[in-house]
């Protein structure tokens, strides 16, 4: 009895808060997608599927949505490819300084996202740093925008933003590998690359998957970076949602797109959650 009153006292405020300010809004947003009209909660409007129909019919929406998924996939994969050697180096070659070096890599990750995107905007811009540098070297003509306002710029910037974040889970996964397994592999005749491919890589897979999802999911919802460096060709799904709320003022449609994004992002999480118990990840 005592125990129950304690649980109640501890858990009620956070539960209520999240229920009202997180679960409830998401549920309302989902409901919104069935309201007719454009401006939001217009109770005179009937329930309708018109937004769903319009969404599915709109090839631009679908195309951009798919492109956003693909781009997120590219960013996540590049991040893994770039970060893995870092984690590997730190774990196997860095020796006692590894934690210090890891922290050194992680520090930029915690600095303002906006500012790091800004720095790339400056570097990549038309009269920006990279362009003027190359002009100074005499390599290019005046005013050639290097990559800015393109999907490539978005990819580069996002990779820059996320790569330090990925180093940590991969590093942790590699560190957790029992060293005697590596010794066993060598003992049984495996050379460096065989040990890597058959032991280290598979065993660090949980870290890779965690890192991948950690980047993939927020990137699907990206709109700030595309707005700053993506240009018209680099529009992502997030930009379209933003547009529905800030320009077109079609909240139900915006809600629907947001819901689509939410579900798209939830699927990989659920799949992974089947294999990993959340409490294990959190370490509690």
């Amino acid at each position: 009895m005592e125990r129950n009153s304690r649980i109640f006292a501890l858990m009620t405020p956070p539960v209520v808060f999240l229920a009202v300010l997180f679960v409830l809004p998401l549920a309302i947003m989902a409901l919104f997608t069935f309201r007719g009209g454009s401006f939001g909660l217009d109770t005179s409007q009937p329930w309708t599927l018109e937004h769903y129909q319009k969404f599915i019919a709109n090839t631009t929406f679908l195309r951009v949505f798919w492109r956003s998924i693909v781009l997120s996939f590219e960013v996540s994969t590049l991040c893994i490819l770039l970060a893995y050697p870092i984690a590997y180096y730190l774990s196997f070659h860095a020796g006692p300084k590894r934690i210090t070096l890891l922290t050194m890599i992680l520090v930029p990750a915690w600095i303002s996202y906006l500012l790091r995107v800004l720095s790339w905007k400056i570097i990549l811009g038309g009269t920006g740093f990279a362009a003027s540098f190359l002009m100074w070297l005499g390599l290019v003509e005046k005013g050639v925008p290097i990559l800015i306002y393109s999907p490539a710029a978005t990819v580069i910037t996002l990779v820059y933003v996320w790569v330090p974040f990925i180093a940590l889970p991969i590093f942790a996964a590699i560190e957790r590998i029992d060293p005697s397994l590596l010794e066993a592999s060598a003992d049984l005749g495996g050379n460096q690359s065989a040990t890597f491919l058959r032991v280290t890589l598979p065993l660090s897979l949980p870290g890779i998957i965690a890192g991948f999802l950690f980047v993939f999911i927020p990137t699907v919802g990206e709109y700030v970076t595309p707005m700053l460096v993506g240009g018209p060709k680099g529009v992502m799904f997030g930009n379209m949602i933003w547009g529905q709320f800030m320009r077109a003022l079609n909240w139900p449609m915006g809600s629907l797109m947001s819901l689509v994004m939410f579900v798209a992002v939830l699927l990989p999480i659920i799949i992974v959650a089947r294999f990993v118990r959340l409490s294990d990840l959190a370490g509690v």
Binding site: L10, V15, F17, I28, M104, I111, L114, S119, V224
Partner: protein
């Protein structure tokens, strides 16, 4: 011996690491350097050294106002999420109850789903359902939502590493459950509380993607800075502001790390 170390230093993995590190820090340094550049345009080669931009920053009322808003929202939302997150952490770590795993899953979601989705959902809640004006209050509430999981994770991790017997010992010696939390549990996890607060603050301070939807007429710093980016002449001011924030962030992060490590070492389970 030195030979081996030198070889290690030059190994491909090591070279890659250092190139990577340079690549990581270069844009940041660039911003700092450019803040001293005597020119409205950010191009190479650099012009003279100047402190003018810093003076402009400090004199701008709007900017100082936005900074103030960010600090207030940051502190308040960090305290609120700190309290709620710590309560949840204690509940999750010390007790088993039906719905525990469901709560863990749901409370972790704000961290994982794109900020825009949360921003949109809250905008609908505030404007369509509740019909309240957007303000720093609505912004603050949204920041608490994304910070609760962060606080929970940090505090829960520290809590799990603490000897559960200590609470029992306190109660055995005459403390009520709540006194035991106040006199024993909280002091022991204190470094984690500080780290959680600082992390929540940094997250709130930097938040833009979600904030844009629920901020009212009074901007926070990221919102204000972004609005200035549309004017090329104002970009150096933004850059300068950015440099200041960058240096301050790095300092805060180191502080949080030191505190977290200090807590980890001194009070882990006996035996």
């Amino acid at each position: 011996m030195r030979d081996v170390q030198f070889k290690k230093f030059l190994s491909p993995a090591s070279i890659y690491f250092w190139i990577f590190a340079v690549f990581l820090y270069f844009p940041i340094f660039l911003l700092v350097i450019l803040s001293f550049n005597d020119s409205a345009l950010l191009r190479f080669p650099l012009k003279g050294f100047t402190l003018d931009w810093y003076k402009t920053v400090l004199r701008s009322h709007e900017l100082v106002g936005a900074l103030q808003n960010s600090v207030v929202v940051g502190v308040v939302s960090s305290v609120v999420s700190g309290v709620l997150g710590t309560m949840a952490a204690i509940g999750i770590v010390r007790f088993r109850f039906p719905g525990r795993n469901l709560f863990l899953a749901i409370s972790a979601l704000p961290l994982v789903i794109p900020a825009i989705v949360i921003g949109v959902a809250l905008l609908i809640l505030f404007r369509s359902i509740l019909d309240v004006d957007l303000s720093l209050w609505t912004l603050g509430l949204s920041h608490v939502v994304i910070n609760i999981p962060i606080v929970m994770l940090i505090v829960a991790s520290r809590l799990a590493g603490m000897d559960a017997n200590l609470e029992e010992a306190a109660m055995d010696l005459g403390a009520s459950y709540w006194t035991a939390q106040l006199r024993v549990t909280l002091p022991i996890v204190f470094p984690a509380l500080i780290a959680a607060f600082l992390t929540a603050f940094t997250t709130s301070f930097d938040e833009y993607a979600m904030s844009v939807f629920v901020v009212g007429t009074k901007p926070t710093l990221p919102v204000y800075m972004y609005s200035m980016l549309r004017f090329p002449r104002k970009i150096p001011v933004v850059v300068t502001m950015a440099s200041i924030i960058l240096v301050a962030s790095i300092a805060l992060i180191f502080l949080a790390e030191q505190l977290r490590r200090a807590g980890q070492n001194s009070t882990s389970k006996v035996r």
